[in-house]
């Protein structure tokens, strides 16, 4: 076991600063410090911006510039440092003197390239100044509400997601930036983004702790390669997962060093199994890839929790009903059972060709009204815990009215609802509207079933209900 952490670092000033100094800001578009400055201007940061560059004269990108952080002489909440690595430790010390409350070190050239000495100097400077530091070798942070954005990725190259309540954390910058792009595409709204690189000062425990207590974060998506402080991670995890869902994707699952086992136990349970055990035990939702993070993220973001696993399936295509049934049972769910009352009520509203049974196949003739009638009846059926609604927009009866009916039902938030839409551009345009209205849409019944199971498993953990 590694040495224990004394307390968790406060990231408030890093994520929600009122004033930012960009150290290494430059007029030269080839410099990272230029992109960072440009982004602060582009995303419309509302606080004070102070460009700092040792060679600065007059203004940088229209802002009054400073040769040193010490010259600003006004409160600075966050310093974003993007200068050659060798100058970083001394710059941190200057930040300490200037009363800076948080730092993001974007620069690379530390332990990740084997320069442990410089990394140690950075850590020593952090200890001396007591400033929380994210990085080095990272993308840094984003807060879509406060329009705080230290990313050096130009806004034209990577979409910035809309404001929302899903937060994403990652050691890796590349996984971080690709997920940002994907999140925008999925219609998920972002709260906070944290890419913390070498984790030299602020590490996974601090990040999880911060996001767990952040009131603007409803769901945490976490790409994790490793944990440095196992016991503390568990302590923070216990609190975090009782407050909100945490979906974790663990990179590097192939375990090393399992060769020297003396017992069956040790040969079965290596390091990667230990991570999985921790995730299970303390209520994380385990994702296998980036798609899982997004798929689970959107159901957690929008749908109410339920312990029950009986799924009501409505469809306008028989084959999809069969596929949905398979996916449901393969993922530990079951088909909902309709009450006698529901059956009688549905028999009255459905055309004679519709068999009143689960999955409820309303045929290709189904219209918005058919779906509306079925959902209204089944919403109060005690035998159904959640809905998987299959809406195939290729059929004559499915159009924008169906979209509206589904949105109306979803807004009642009575029971979790996911929609499966498989198809091309016409389908996708309708799916996009559903998603912007807060309905998770999936392309296949399998993904929909996996996501429902993630929701239910988490709910059972929260309520300590065993399957």
């Amino acid at each position: 076991m590694k040495s224990s952490k004394m307390k968790y670092q406060d990231l408030t000033h890093i994520l929600s600063p009122k004033s930012v100094a960009v150290i290494g800001a430059s007029e030269n578009p080839a410099k990272v410090g230029h992109a960072i400055m440009q982004n602060y201007v582009d995303v419309g940061f509302q606080g004070q911006i102070y460009p700092v560059n040792i060679t600065a004269v007059d203004k940088i990108m229209g802002y009054k510039s400073f040769k040193s952080i010490l010259d600003i002489k006004k409160p600075v909440d966050l310093a974003v440092i993007s200068i050659p690595a060798e100058f970083v430790p001394s710059t941190i010390e200057q930040c300490g003197k200037a009363g800076v409350k948080g730092i993001v070190v974007v620069s690379s050239g530390f332990a990740e390239v084997g320069n442990q000495k410089l990394e140690d100097q950075l850590i020593a400077a952090a200890k001396k100044t007591k400033i929380p530091i994210i990085g080095p070798n990272c993308l840094g942070v984003m807060d879509s509400r406060g329009r705080n954005d230290t990313l050096f990725l130009p806004t034209f190259k990577i979409d910035r997601p809309k404001v929302g309540s899903v937060s994403f954390a990652s050691q890796s910058g590349s996984v971080g930036s690709s997920i940002l792009d994907l999140v925008s595409g999925e219609g998920l709204g972002l709260s906070k983004f944290i890419s913390y690189g070498n984790a030299s000062v602020v590490d996974e425990v601090d990040v999880l702790n911060y996001l767990a207590h952040d009131k603007d974060t409803k769901v945490i998506l976490y790409y994790l390669e490793g944990v440095k402080h196992g016991k503390e991670f568990i302590e923070v995890a216990k609190t975090a997962t009782m407050r909100k869902p945490v979906v974790v994707l663990k990179g590097g699952v192939t375990s090393a060093g399992a060769g020297a086992a003396h017992s069956h136990t040790a040969s079965l349970a290596g390091s990667s199994e230990a991570y999985e055990a921790v995730f299970r035990q303390y209520g994380f939702t385990i994702g296998n890839d980036l798609d899982d993070l997004l798929n689970f993220g959107k159901i957690f973001d929008t749908q109410p929790l339920t312990n029950g696993n009986r799924i009501g399936v409505l469809t306008n295509g028989g084959g999809h009903g069969v596929l949905a049934t398979d996916a449901i049972y393969l993922n530990g769910l079951q088909l909902g059972a309709m009450s006698k009352e529901s059956q009688t009520a549905l028999r009255k509203t459905m055309p004679p060709i519709v068999n009143i049974r689960m999955p409820l196949d309303m045929s290709g003739e189904a219209t918005a009204k058919s779906y509306e009638d079925a959902l209204t009846v089944l919403a109060s059926d005690p035998g159904i815990d959640a809905f998987m609604v299959i809406a195939l927009f290729q059929t004559p009866g499915a159009d924008e009215k169906l979209v509206q009916s589904l949105i109306n039902f979803s807004n009642t938030k009575k029971k979790p609802l996911v929609v499966v839409c498989t198809g091309g551009s016409y389908t996708k345009s309708h799916a996009t509207i559903l998603e912007s209205a807060g309905i998770p849409v999936y392309e296949s019944p399998t993904t929909a079933a996996r996501s429902l199971m993630a929701l239910i498993s988490y709910s059972r953990y929260r309520n300590k209900v065993e399957a």
Partner: protein, 218 residues
């Protein structure tokens, strides 16, 4: 590469197999059932231990980690002749694992063989494991793992995670018994200096269980 090698070597050197009778006593202290056993120094003693009921003879040595693979276990020995032949055979086979002792054990009825184990993870500390045991351990790799100490909820969720759940715990009674057993093992793991533990096989039979083989590495 060399560093890793040295580390592994050193670790191997540091881990010590707890003497069987001590390990057995430790289990008893935590109320964990294990099969009756005794060290014997002759075939005669073994026959006396058997008291006309079938026994198992094992050669125990810190150098032989896989007793069954090394042919150091002889089972279902009823008659005095069977016991004597088996005793002599084991002594002969165990020569290359000196020093060794011969252990006699009451034969446990057939049942479901499971494994309950533990180990120390560098990052998260002591872990507890349950799985389908005996010869199926490596083949099916059907096991559940948790960090100690575990709660009853954890114990239950470990069982429900197993594909072999219905085989291992077919009814409520078996479920509760195994949950309690897991809690006892978790308690033993955290309150003792144990690096690795194997109770494998632990045989479930007649509504109860017996740990048949115990391996504790300090």
């Amino acid at each position: 590469m060399l560093l890793i090698f040295l580390f592994v070597e050193r670790r191997e050197f540091m881990l010590q197999l707890m003497e069987y009778s001590k390990a057995n006593q430790l289990l008893k202290k935590y109320g964990i059932r294990s099969v009756d056993s005794a060290y014997v120094s002759s075939a005669k003693e073994a026959a006396k231990f058997s008291n006309k009921k079938p026994i198992v003879l094992k050669a125990i040595s810190g150098k032989a980690l896989h007793k069954s693979k090394s042919g150091l276990i002889q089972i279902n020995l009823g008659s005095e002749k069977e016991i004597t032949d088996a005793y002599d055979l084991l002594v002969k086979r165990a020569q290359k694992f000196k020093p060794f002792k011969i252990q006699a054990q009451k034969m446990v009825k057939n049942g479901i063989e499971i494994i309950i184990g533990g180990r120390v993870d560098q990052q998260f500390g002591k872990l507890i494991l349950i799985g389908l045991g005996g010869i199926y351990v490596e083949t099916f790799r059907d096991f559940a793992l948790r960090v100690c100490p575990i709660t009853r909820f954890d114990a239950r969720s470990m069982l429900s995670q197993l594909k072999s759940r219905k085989v291992i715990a077919p009814d409520k009674g078996a479920e509760i018994m195994i949950e309690s057993l897991l809690l006892k093992v978790s308690d033993m793991l955290i309150t003792n200096d144990i690096n690795e533990l194997d109770l494998n096989p632990l045989i479930l039979h007649d509504g109860t269980y017996d740990a048949v083989d115990i391996r504790i590495l300090k």
